[in-house]
Structures are given as C-alpha cells and as structure tokens.
C-alpha cells in the first residue's frame, strides 16, 4: 500500500448552505468508488479539515459513484457575513482533493503522473 492524493481518483464540486459547505466527491472511474467509500471516511475527512470545520457528515450516492460531505461551520459565518475569500465554499472541493488515502502501490503507480513519482 502507498498513499495517493484524491485528485487522482476523484473530481469534486462544492457549494454552500448558510455556514455549511458541501463537497460532492465523484469517482473518476466507477471502479474507484468502493475505494472512496472505504477510505474517505467521515472521521478522516474531519481530521483533514481539523480546525477549519466543526463537524462532518457523509452521504453515499452509489448511483453517481459519489460521496457527499457536509462541512459544518466551514465558512466563517457564511453568506454575506463571512469575510473569507471563499465565503461560499466554492473551492472546498479541491481542498478535499488534497487528502491522501492508502491505495495499492500498483494503482498509485498507474495514476500518479510521472513527474510526481
């Protein structure tokens, strides 16, 4: 096993509802979805965003090969109150794609671009 950033396994889009950001994480190939379900757990995502969010919820959408995460209190008040550049959580998506998960070494070798190996 080795560690691989989610960006090589998934794409994502994020948005806001009040002070909560949501990140939809979508497997790049259906065959990666079980790996996401197993490794991108609620607890790991909470640890990834530690200090940035208060709580994390996770929902599964096997029909879309996607997971949906709610990141509570992620937007510094949210909406018009927030002073953040990303007051509407538009780029929490790629912040999640920074996260690394354990994957079989062969898979990581195949997915990681040559210069990053």
């Amino acid at each position: 096993m080795t560690r691989l950033q989610l960006r090589y396994l998934a794409h994502a889009r994020s948005g806001d509802k009040g002070n909560t950001a949501n990140v939809g994480l979508i497997a790049l190939e259906p065959k990666y979805y079980p790996l996401l379900v197993r490794e991108v757990t609620r607890a790991r995502v909470a640890r990834h965003f530690k200090g940035m969010v208060s709580a994390v919820e996770r929902f599964e959408l096997p029909n879309l090969n996607a997971l949906n995460f709610l990141l509570h209190d992620a937007l510094d008040g949210g909406g018009t109150i927030s002073l953040k550049t990303d007051a509407q959580g538009k780029v929490y998506s790629t912040a999640l794609l920074r996260m690394e998960i354990p994957v079989p070494a062969a898979l990581a070798r195949r997915l990681r671009p040559a210069r990053a190996r």
């Binding site: 794409h11 029909n63 109150i81 912040a95």
Partner: protein, 458 residues
C-alpha cells in the same frame, strides 16, 4: 407513449450571469420555454432596499431590457418565459415587461402572468403573534430576536402558481420568490398535465430544474474533471432540458455552442449545494438523488431517468433578510523577495494600529492570497521565493464607525510599513452593509391562500 418532448432552456444561473445566454438560447435552436432564475438567498433584501428608495424598483431590472430585446423572437417562435425576476415587486416587473412589449409593437400579442403572495414582510408580527416563531433553521433562534432589523421576508412558492399562469395563457410568467426548481417544474407539469401529487414526476422535474438552475455550470462551466478539454467557452451552450412524458428527460445544449454536456458535467452540478441526497426538499415534493440514473445518449446529450420522490411536506421555507452590520476588506500586494514575510509584518503593524485606536470588531480576518486564502493551512508553507503575496484583511462590526476608520488604515501602510508594496490603486476600501440571511419554516396553509395569479395583457 408519446414521443413528444418539452424543451426548457436555462437563460440565467443567477442575477448577473452572462447577458448573452438567454438571447442565444432563444435564437440558437428550438426551445419551448426560457427559464430565468434571478434570486439567490440575499437578493430579495437588495431588491427590498431598492424598493424602499423607489417604489417602482425592487425587481431584476435588467430583465426588462432583455425582454425588450427578445420578445419579438419569443412571439414569433412561440417560446414562453418563466422567471422569478419579480423579486419583491413582481407587479412592477410585470408592468415594465408589458410596456416593453408595447414598445416592441406587440400590443395584444403578449400576456404576462403575475404571481404574488410570497411576500410576508407586512404579516410578520401577526404570524409571530399567532404562534409561528419563524425560528432560524440553522441556529434555532426565534425571529423576535432580530424582528426590528428585518428587511425582507418571503415564502418560497413552488410550481402551482406557474402552472396556473400558463393555463391562463401567460407567455411570460413573472414571480417573486418562487423556487428555482419551480420555474422548470411549472412548464413540464403544465405541458403534460401531470397531477401535482405524482411524486416521482415531481421529483424528476425537480432534478431537471436543479441541473439547469445554475446555467452553464451543468454544461462545461466550472467543470473540474478534464477542464482543459472543455472547448468553445467563449460561447458556452447553456443547458436545455428535453422532458418526456414518461418522466425521464435529456440534458443537452444547442448545436454549435461551446462547453460539454456529459455524465461528469451533470454529476458535478447534481452534487452542487447538496444536503442529504435522499431528501432534496422543495415546496412541491421531495426528490431522492440516490435514485437518479445518468447515461450518455449521444454527443452533448445525457439521459436522466429512474428518479423517485416522496410527498411534499406541510411546511414552506421562508427567506428572511435582516440588517446585521458593516464590513470592509482591504488589500495590498507585497513583492519578492520575502514577500510573505513582508505581508505578515504588515498585518501585524495594522492590527497593532487598530488595537491602539481602541477599535472594536466582531472579527478581523487576515488571508494571504497566493499562500492560504483558498485552502487555509492545507496549503502548507509557501515557497520561500514566492514572487508576490496579496495581504487581504477584512473586518466586521455591528457599528459603522470602526469599519469606516479601518478603511483609512490600509493605504498608509504603503509609506509606513514593510517595503516593496503596491496594488493600492483602488484607494480606500468601501464600507459594505451586511445583510444576513435567516431561513425559517412556516405552515403552508398560512401562505397558499394568499397566492395570487393574474393575467395581464399588453
């Protein structure tokens, strides 16, 4: 099964979206309806403010010149419009559209459906008195806590008044706070004559509405997966729903336009602003996003099927906007070498000055653009040779005075702080009023009897 389809085109993903989009949707190929969503969470309060200064204002003003531009095409092609451009003054908006129609020489050829009754600003005290606390859905606080600062209050209406307006022969339906999904559901239910308690079909139309309500964000805009391969974005094709009588539909776009309609592009939009996917709640019903099936059905065509739904709830969401306070954001740019260290030093100096002045803020937030503004601490340490860093510092307070004073503390840093600083050409930052959003729920029986649909003729 009938092979008939209804084509609903998205013309606007938000108030301020690409002005050419609706025009190209109308002229770029066959459509039956143009759907124009203008209202975000706090838009109503901005419109309320405009209306308090000018009783004829309070709606998305740019909707009127747009209508004037495309009404002849709409009439010629038999295309109808559904829009919540009416904001807090749907009547004013409807009348302005009628005047535009007359200016186009379309007397007797355009009927405007006017939907009102969502505005409950004048009823708040009565509603609270009668036992509707209108608690904030996020915090649970009762509305009475901020009652004296409320600027606007509107219930989210669903598709029913839109269906009614279309049945009354409206060519252009102008509403206040109707849900973005209702603007798509209305035409579909009107055309197919479906029953509003056919929950699977309600859910299907809701999903269709959700996919196109953010405009090109479903058809290649803001698409992360393979973004380099998305071509022709100088002329992006906005999404079109082709709804079929069996409750399935296809998402597509006009030929000859840029962007892409693919399973990934639609999936990214589906998860946008999603909560619990099994329970996407609208005034019209509940959609289960885990039932959605997507299939590429040709170039720039995605078939959407299998959608299940559940009954609507007895509650309607209410969007309340209230005055919160003031904020301002100032920026300066620091250049190599040691750009990040200079920006951090400037931040320290500025904060000390604010403290020495005895200014009290609810929050002071510093971000270093180029270092941590988008991903916070996840970005790691910046490269020591980073070519430049923008210092971005924001403050918020309940009172105007400290924020005003803060805006005079940015430019002086150029001559009184760390070196190699630029990017202050904008001068003093503006003091902005903060209008905050208060989402609440109310029994729909309090709202629905007051909803009115009128058909006005040019």
């Amino acid at each position: 099964m009938s092979a008939r389809t209804v084509r609903i085109a998205a013309g606007q993903g938000f108030w301020g979206d690409w002005p050419e989009a609706p025009v190209r949707q109308v002229r770029g190929g066959p459509i039956d309806y143009l759907m124009m969503d203008y209202l975000a969470e706090v838009t109503m309060s901005i419109m309320q403010k405009q209306k308090s200064r000018d009783p004829r204002a309070g709606y998305a003003r740019d909707f009127v010149p747009l209508m004037e531009r495309i009404l002849p095409d709409l009439v010629e092609r038999g295309i109808k419009v559904t829009s919540n451009a009416g904001g807090v003054n749907p009547r004013g908006c409807a009348e302005a559209v009628l005047e535009a129609a007359r200016r186009c020489g379309l007397q007797g050829k355009v009927k405007v459906g006017l939907v009102s009754g969502d505005d409950i600003l004048d009823r708040l005290d009565e509603l609270i008195e009668r036992g509707h606390p209108l608690n904030d859905m996020e915090t649970g606080r009762p509305l009475s806590d901020i009652r004296d600062r409320v600027l606007s209050a509107n219930a989210y209406l669903g598709m029913a008044p839109i269906v009614q307006a279309l049945e009354g022969g409206a060519d252009v339906v102008v509403t206040g706070r109707v849900t973005d999904t209702g603007l798509t559901l209305g035409p579909i239910f009107h055309e197919f004559g479906w029953s509003p308690d056919d929950w699977d079909r309600v859910a299907a139309g809701t999903v269709a509405g959700h996919i196109i309500e953010c405009g090109a964000q479903a058809s290649g805009g803001n698409l992360l997966r393979g973004w380099r391969a998305v071509k022709g974005m100088a002329n992006p094709g906005f999404p079109i729903v082709e709804a079929a009588a069996d409750g399935s539909f296809v998402i597509t776009k006009h030929p000859g336009t840029g962007g892409v309609v693919s399973v990934p592009s639609v999936t990214e939009q589906l998860v946008y602003e999603m909560g619990d996917p099994r329970s996407y709640i609208t005034p019209d019903g509940i959609a289960d996003f885990t039932s959605i099936r997507l299939r590429q059905a040709g170039r720039d065509r995605v078939r959407v099927s299998g959608i299940r739904g559940g009954p609507r709830t007895p509650l309607l969401k209410v969007s309340i906007a209230y005055f919160y306070g003031y904020k301002a954001v100032g920026t300066l740019v620091y250049a190599w070498p040691e750009a990040y260290d200079k920006a951090r030093a400037a931040d320290k100096v500025l904060r000390q000055r604010l403290a020495d002045l005895g200014l009290r803020f609810e929050q002071i937030l510093t971000e270093f653009v180029g270092v941590d503004a988008t991903h916070g601490r996840l970005s790691g340490r910046p490269h020591p040779d980073i070519p430049e860093v923008q210092l971005r510092i924001g403050v918020r307070a309940r009172e105007r005075e400290p924020v005003e004073r803060f805006t005079r503390e940015i430019a002086p840093l150029v001559l009184t702080g760390p070196p190699s600083v630029t990017g202050f050409a904008g001068g003093r930052p503006a003091v902005e009023e903060v209008v905050a959003y208060w989402p609440a729920l109310i029994d729909r029986r309090e709202i629905e009897p007051g909803v009115r649909v009128e058909i006005l003729e040019a």
